[in-house]
Subunit: 131 residues, 2 copies
DNA sequence: GATAGGGCTTCCAGTTACTGGAAGGTCAAG
DNA sequence: CTTGACCTTCCAGTAACTGGAAGCCCTATC
């Protein structure tokens, strides 16, 4: 199947698939006689795998690692577990940051009368380094 | 005060302050006779403002906007409120995504026995496009 | 007064993960 | 046979820094 179809099936833009290939994350597919990329079901499977990992916050570097764990028949599931657990810790940190940002902003918005008066609690809050 | 001190007081690395200046987000400070940047209290205030806004997820473009709203004595607080409210909506979307990512990963980790067996639910989950 | 260390300057390059566009070949439909 | 939608490569640009080189400047110590 050509790259357009692989894009549809994996959910990744064709441009991104080519980029992943160049970055040695995605597989190098077979080529047709005229040079079109020709993806197998297995290739698409891997593309979907990468897409999902990316959506779950794994960097391309980490995806490379996951792909090699995935395609290596001798890997232990413990290696994968460690990577995933680190990722969860990271997500927790991000969640904490975002929640704190949200708290500050919504407090500030609540206090802002939103009219023409020159006084704005949001700007004041940011200026005072509100957490 | 020189850039090192401004960096300490604003929490931004000196390198980043220079970058912000070049990007017309941070103020252009005065210069000493030998060409060192010389920041006023007010400059540092603005740097801290920008730093906080960045930490709250505002892009440099948005920071530029906030700074001009901040320094413009004629701005209405409504303009600021609108920007902040959009930011909250965006944060909510990110929170939702992260929570979903976390759910998937922790389910997969829980199911992973983490030993040498070649079977790993995490990789399987990613391959199946777990949400 | 020489020297060592830090801090400051500019500029150039690299990073991550794409995205857009140009120039050109290919393919299927009408 | 032409049109339009594909595909190819390559080159450039994006955001928001970060690192490094080359070269002043300033202070402290021997």
């Amino acid at each position: 199947m050509n790259i357009g179809e692989a894009a549809t099936q994996s959910g990744l833009p064709a441009k991104t698939i080519r980029y992943y290939e160049e970055a040695h994350v995605a597989p190098e597919p077979a080529r047709t006689e005229v040079g079109y990329r020709d993806y197998s079901e297995n290739d698409v499977h891997l593309l979907r795998f990468i897409h999902t990992a990316r959506r779950h916050g794994f960097s391309l570097e980490e995806c490379r690692e996951l792909v090699s764990l995935y395609t290596d028949p001798d890997r232990s599931s413990r290696d994968v577990k460690v990577v995933a657990e680190q990722k969860i810790t990271e997500i927790d940190r991000k969640l904490k940051d975002l929640r704190s940002m949200r708290r500050t902003l919504s407090t500030l918005v609540k206090e802002c009368h939103g009219d023409q008066r020159p006084d704005c609690p949001i700007l004041k809050g940011l200026a005072q380094g509100a957490k």
